[in-house]
């Protein structure tokens, strides 16, 4: 019994100091200069522009990677062969690789000094130091999320229901829409939400490919970094950080509320 209480206390203290203290500090200390100062800071043109650019990036990245993620999950979970295993490994690369390396690699491939930069320039396309680069970097780092949350579910639900639908005469698209996708809905949603959060918060990769131009290619994380590192604007960085943290919290709360409602609906239909 004594050991149990000791372990409980160790864990509680560790989590409170490591996570609770910084988060509580962010939530409280941002308001030290008053609410109006925080409001002035987050409504400044640079801050608003950073938020808009971040949300616009997410609006492109999340739907695209969700779609690609569903396709990749279906291939990985439902098809066999050596190339499927290769695909499985390749999808995971961004997890194993530092975001800084992702940024460097995109520059080395698509900037003016990179492999395909000259060809892209001939086409009049500027990828690096532009919003296109930010989107590309976000796509690269968020690729694994939907796949990782959907493949295990696809394997778990199996193919029995798909076969049943097929024997009843349903075509492949109909099976996909009516049987397969509904059964992995939560995996896809969870992955898409994680991808959204990662896009909002991605820093290293975007910092390198964006060129960090204030009011032009500055996303919210980079605005936070710049406020602290270049402009010594403590309030600006903290207000931005709080904004980002609040978006993350709201998204997580909505997700868990949806999940609870879904579980309740299931319980009803089971009765």
């Amino acid at each position: 019994m004594k050991a149990r209480v000791a372990i409980r206390l160790t864990v509680a203290v560790y989590l409170l100091v490591l996570v609770g203290l910084p988060v509580g500090f962010l939530l409280i200390h941002t308001w030290a200069g008053g609410a109006s100062a925080v409001w002035r800071s987050i409504s400044s043109p640079d801050a608003v522009h950073a938020v808009m650019l971040t949300l616009e990036t997410a609006a492109v990245v999340v739907p695209l990677n969700t779609l690609v993620g569903i396709g990749a999950s279906l291939l990985i979970a439902r098809r066999r062969g050596p190339w499927v295993r290769v695909l499985d490994v390749l999808v995971d690369i961004p997890v194993a690789v530092s975001p800084v390396i992702i940024g460097v690699s995109l520059v080395l491939a698509y900037s003016r000094i990179g492999w395909f930069g000259t060809a892209l320039a001939n086409w009049g396309l500027r990828v690096i130091f532009s919003p296109v680069g930010i989107v590309l970097a976000s796509l690269a780092v968020t690729l694994p999320y939907v796949v990782r949350s959907t493949v295990p579910l696809l394997r778990e639900v199996g193919t029995d229901q798909e076969w049943a639908a097929r024997t009843l005469g349903a075509g492949p698209w109909r099976i996909l829409w009516r049987v397969t996708l509904p059964s992995v809905k939560w995996g896809v949603t969870y992955g898409a939400v994680l991808a959204f959060l990662r896009t909002l918060g991605e820093f290293g990769a975007v910092l390198i490919v964006s060129g960090n131009v204030t009011g032009s290619t500055q996303t919210l994380p980079i605005y936070i970094f710049d406020s602290w590192d270049q402009n010594f604007d403590f309030l600006g960085s903290f207000a931005g950080a709080l904004e980002l943290a609040l978006i993350a919290v709201v998204v997580m709360v909505i997700l868990s509320a949806l999940q609870r409602r879904e579980r309740k609906l299931h319980a009803h239909s089971a009765l």
Partner: protein
């Protein structure tokens, strides 16, 4: 109403033969696989290949404007790779990243096992509150953590702990970002664990400590290793949360910060060379840990 009775399902007018269905399956797989491979190539594979090639000193002259690498004039300069890697600052940064990550991942593997145990086997007031802390490092953007740490543990620390420009500051940040991995790999295994074996061991006279040592811990080795690999990979590449508290001096420059500094000086070849080494390290440790975890799992299954 009447027409619906006469309606016949489309399938019965021309039933698809087994062969046509197989053909359709092959065509759809090849199309989807091809599209996906192209997508993966553009956003990940080609850039990483370009990084490794540039890192080891291969540089193409692309002024012809062609897309095809075969049309480019290639130069190779392997000594540039050796120079970039051989720089004492580069070694220092890589070594710092490796030992700090090993340390942080080890501490969090042990703490992660304890946290998972408390969350699954213990019941107390405020448990749900404690549990909600575990996922925060996943959801919180790294730069947010970075800004909070530089203020909380910086020169103006309100708790009077100044870790600015010290390895301990980097260490705390790494502990924070790698916290969820071990907890989330060990927790499901503990939930699924069969309590009967433990009860049997207890009835046979084993002490609680003996049960922990001989029954619980062995089954946690596999998920703990998997969590360790993920945590290490995360730490060794971490940038956002440590970029500020490190303070930009050589002593606390980690590998990812070193790469970033090189890019700020437009030293892309050097950045690519160090990236290649860092890539090699994280891929080796991650696949090694995953492989050990799998083989340990299989041996126990026998």
């Amino acid at each position: 109403m009447v027409t619906s009775v006469n309606e016949t399902p489309a399938v019965s007018t021309s039933p698809p033969t087994v062969r046509s269905r197989r053909l359709r399956r092959v065509v759809s797989t090849v199309t989807a696989g091809g599209l996906l491979s192209t997508y993966l190539s553009i956003i990940v594979i080609l850039p990483v290949v370009a990084t490794i090639a540039t890192g080891v000193g291969a540089s193409p002259d692309t002024t012809s404007g062609s897309w095809w690498p075969g049309d480019w004039v290639w130069h190779s300069n392997f000594s540039a790779f050796v120079d970039a890697i051989g720089a004492p600052a580069a070694w220092h940064a890589i070594w710092l990243s490796v030992w700090l990550s090993l340390l942080a991942a080890s501490v969090n593997t042990v703490m992660g096992a304890l946290i998972a145990w408390v969350l699954v086997r213990d019941r107390f007031r405020g448990q749900k509150f404690i549990e909600s802390f575990v996922d925060i490092p996943f959801a919180l953007p790294t730069i947010v953590a970075g800004v909070v740490f530089i203020y909380l543990y910086g020169p103006a620390s309100p708790v009077h702990v100044n870790l600015f420009e010290a390895w301990t500051g980097l260490f705390v940040a790494l502990l924070f970002v790698s916290l969820p991995f071990s907890v989330r790999t060990i927790q499901p295994v503990l939930v699924a664990m069969d309590r009967d074996v433990e009860h049997a061991a207890r009835t046979l006279g084993a002490s609680p400590w003996r049960v922990t040592r001989s029954v619980i811990i062995p089954s946690l080795v596999s998920p703990a290793l998997a969590g360790f690999g993920l945590a290490f990979a995360r730490c060794v590449g971490e940038f956002g949360s440590i970029s500020l508290i490190g303070g930009g001096i050589a002593r606390t420059t980690t590998a990812s910060t070193y790469i970033y500094n090189l890019t700020q000086g437009f030293l892309w070849q050097g950045a690519a060379a160090v990236s290649t080494i860092l890539l090699l390290i994280s891929v080796t440790v991650l696949t090694g840990a995953t492989w050990f975890a799998a083989s340990f799992h299989d041996r126990r299954a026998l």
